[in-house]
Symmetry: D2
Subunit: 137 residues, 4 copies
């Protein structure tokens, strides 16, 4: 069984906050990206390892649910969790206020494997990812 | 009946393209933002009019489906369409290659009205938006 | 003699404006980028032509003078002007309010040619740029 | 005598890297911003304290010298140093590779005090900043 999660702490930077005093909704994907990178590092399948493996993993679907706005210099924990890997690579994200523990944001991203030799999508996950996850095939 | 759409033309700028040679997925929300601003301008309910009306309209939900990657200096049409306004403000987006007409991206955003006097969410759309839309209440 | 200038019109987008209600200073480089791309297109030496020519042109120096803040949805003209090309590629930028004509911002960028065969900097401008500029060598 | 410096560690995020495989020049200002925020926090004169003091401190001048490009997931130290405070607030920045210690980038930002009561620039530094710096007036 795999229970793969990762967490990063982020202090909301000045330039991410909009004229309403809250983080512009598009900037949350930066925070997700950072926690995804941490998770993929954990299994040694970050950007460079992906490239070396011959697969690109473009994001094909994003969903974000904004529960409470984030504000300037707020300290947040961003948690990424692997929730599917068999046909694609799906991660779930949750952002929490680092002090109160209150959940402010939820989201998911879905990536698919792209074989870089022929630029074709893979409908089953390539062995390399299963190996990295320690899943017997 | 309302059939409210708006369209902007964007040439993909250099800084939006990532190391893989395609637009980083988070940057698409910039393109949606631009087409949403154009749509809201059409009904004279852009940022300043919203503020004057006493309501903020935070985005509470975002979905994006990436069908084909966008690339450097590609010319695209971004179309926004109003698809719901009764309980919230929901827009649908489609991005098309401006030459081939091929659809590359789909998405939605959902905004809710926030009464700025008491900072409370409105579960029905305030009259001001219905007026702007020319919908009899 | 070369008098090479280019101009783009930009409407300041929502996500570029900070909590103080003005454009965050780092975002001005996006506007310069857009006008630089337009200028380089004019001489048919944009990103793809540069790459084909075997030279990269990294930016090695940036200066910006912020005279008046830019604000949400303001319409501005961004003018780029070639001011040096012999040892490096230097452009000067000016941003003007599109209505009042008032100048709000000045800046420069300096790029140097990098020979992509050996990754070495060129201390004189390669012939390809001089050709594009129509300058006899 | 004041010797005020601050340092932050940053891992270059995916979305900051361009199609050439190096950080787009405009993104460096994000890194400067982060180290400036750390420095201002040190003297308890961050954004909220500035606002409370009745002064805004817009950036009026930026300079960046790019010595070596930054690359994906590179670990860097960004050091900010206060170098002038009498007529304006001037900081100097240096970015170093966190492993080799090699300096990759230099820059400065200059901010001026803006009295928020009358929106007028101050040609001498207001007492509140001198107090925060522990400088006798």
């Amino acid at each position: 069984m795999i229970d793969l999660t990762s967490e990063v702490i982020i202090k909301i930077p000045f330039q991410d906050v909009d004229i309403m005093g809250v983080v512009w909704h598009g900037n949350y994907l930066r925070y997700f990206e950072e926690s995804r990178a941490a998770l993929l590092d954990k299994i040694d399948y970050g950007y460079f390892a992906m490239k070396e493996s011959g697969y690109a993993w473009p994001i094909v679907d994003v969903r974000v649910k904004y529960i409470k706005p984030l504000t300037l210099h707020q300290l947040v924990r961003v948690r990424a969790k692997l929730i599917a890997y068999e046909c694609n690579l799906k991660l779930e994200y949750e952002i929490y206020d680092a002090c109160s523990g209150e959940r402010t944001t939820r989201g998911t991203t879905t990536q698919v494997a792209l074989d870089m030799r022929n630029n074709e999508m893979c409908y089953v996950t390539p062995g390399v990812l299963l190996d990295k996850l320690g899943v017997s095939t």
